[in-house]
């Protein structure tokens, strides 16, 4: 029975993936892509990877979807959203089939699983959720660089602004009817999202959750509020925003340095202090991730003008 469920789910995922690639119209592909992320999150739930399911639901279905929707809207206004119909492309089909077959073959050629033995290490990690232990302790260097990557992408995105727009507020200037449905939604949602986001970070130490997932939920509700015109759009010149961007990575980096000075080495967490240290780092990271994601989605400063 559970095999039937998995096959049904995978059939839907594949159908949606095919529709994303093959269907005509960029907008249709974007909508399919959003549902794709959603179905994939269910797939991760089936695989028992709950933290991944959370990340996939929040990031792929949610934020990437909004990013693509907003981009499609902008492209349509620039009359660049149309595309030529898909023509049959035999070389591409051959390469794609070859890649898929090679991966399929690799699956059956895999030797018996050889996962590293974490039983001795996990109790020393300070947290009960093994995924959090890997992300924030065993492989903290990856996670630190990952937070830096988000920041680098944002600085890169800002470089795409026009020079004359540099001091403008970030993104489009959102407005909504005062007291209208959207504006009220923009007021009601943030408290709920805030509580849930904080819960995800706090719970992530022991069960499903984590800084990136919590940060994404916070970013989502902030975006709704921004779009509803409740929150004013930030400007690059505002120091508080830039400080919020670097706060999390900064705390992470400095705690790593503290590990090098006071403990066994860079990014080392003494078992006794590991739990509070991880929660502190995650809390700081969540703030920065949320701000970074919001700014990544709304885009560089824009004065709305056209290029000559």
């Amino acid at each position: 029975m559970s095999l039937v469920l998995d096959i049904a789910l995978c059939a839907l995922i594949l159908g949606v993936g095919l529709a994303t690639v093959a269907g005509h119209g960029v907008f249709r592909a974007v909508i399919f892509f959003i549902t794709y992320g959603l179905l994939l999150a269910i797939g991760w739930a089936r695989l028992g990877a709950y933290d991944v399911a959370l990340a996939e639901a929040a990031i792929s279905a949610g934020l990437t979807g909004v990013l693509l929707l907003a981009a499609h809207g902008r492209l349509r206004r620039l009359s660049a959203a149309e595309e030529a119909p898909l023509r049959r492309n035999l070389p591409a089909a051959l390469i794609a089939t070859g890649v898929a077959l090679a991966l399929g073959w690799a699956w059956f050629a895999l030797p018996d699983p050889a996962a590293p033995d974490l039983t001795a290490a996990l109790p020393q990690s300070g947290v009960g959720n093994p995924v959090t232990a890997v992300l924030l302790n065993f492989r903290a260097w990856d996670t630190l660089l990952e937070a830096i990557i988000l920041l680098a992408a944002l600085i890169g995105l800002w470089m795409l602004a026009r020079d004359r727009a540099w001091n403008e507020p970030l993104g489009l200037q959102y407005h909504a009817r005062a007291g209208g449905v959207m504006a009220s939604f923009g007021r009601v949602l943030p408290p709920i999202g805030l509580i849930f986001g904080v819960y995800l970070v706090w719970a992530g130490a022991e069960t499903t959750g984590g800084a990136f997932q919590g940060g994404t939920v916070l970013a989502a509700v902030c975006l709704v509020s921004l779009m509803a015109g409740v929150l004013p759009a930030p400007r690059i010149a505002q120091t508080a925003w830039r400080a919020a961007l670097v706060f999390g990575p900064g705390v992470f980096l400095l705690s790593g340095v503290a590990g090098a000075i006071f403990a066994q080495g860079f990014l080392a967490l003494p078992p006794a202090l590991a739990k509070p240290a991880i929660v502190t780092i995650e809390a700081a990271l969540t703030l920065s991730i949320a701000v970074t994601l919001v700014l990544l989605v709304i885009g560089p400063p824009d004065d709305g003008g056209q290029d000559a």
Partner: protein, 108 residues
């Protein structure tokens, strides 16, 4: 109970498949977005069922999905407005629009 929950999840997925047909068909962008909304709610329902079947922590995933689906819909409404930043409730006044309630084909 396990078997029923499996059947329930499969039936819900089948119902999502029907909504996917509407995403494919359109014809208007709003049709596609509405169908995506239904798929979002259906996904939340599937995750609730899976939570009962596998692990209750999946409710957190369902919650996140519900929040993010709302964001996607708001993002759609925004990107549909003329300047990409507006609110369909602002202008033009709703009275002008009465009687134009027929969908026209507009793929995007």
């Amino acid at each position: 109970m396990t078997i029923w929950l499996h059947i329930l999840a499969i039936a819900l997925l089948a119902s999502l498949g029907g909504a996917l047909w509407r995403v494919w068909r359109g014809p208007s962008q709003a049709d596609r977005m509405m169908a995506a909304q239904l798929i979002g709610t259906g996904g939340v329902a599937v995750l609730m069922v899976l939570a009962a079947l596998q692990d209750w922590t999946l409710l957190a995933v369902a919650f996140a999905l519900a929040t993010l689906a709302a964001l996607a819909a708001v993002g759609f409404v925004k990107s549909e407005s003329p300047d990409g930043a507006g609110d369909p409730e602002e202008a033009p006044p709703a009275t002008e629009l009465r009687g134009t309630v027929q969908d026209r084909t507009r793929n995007g």
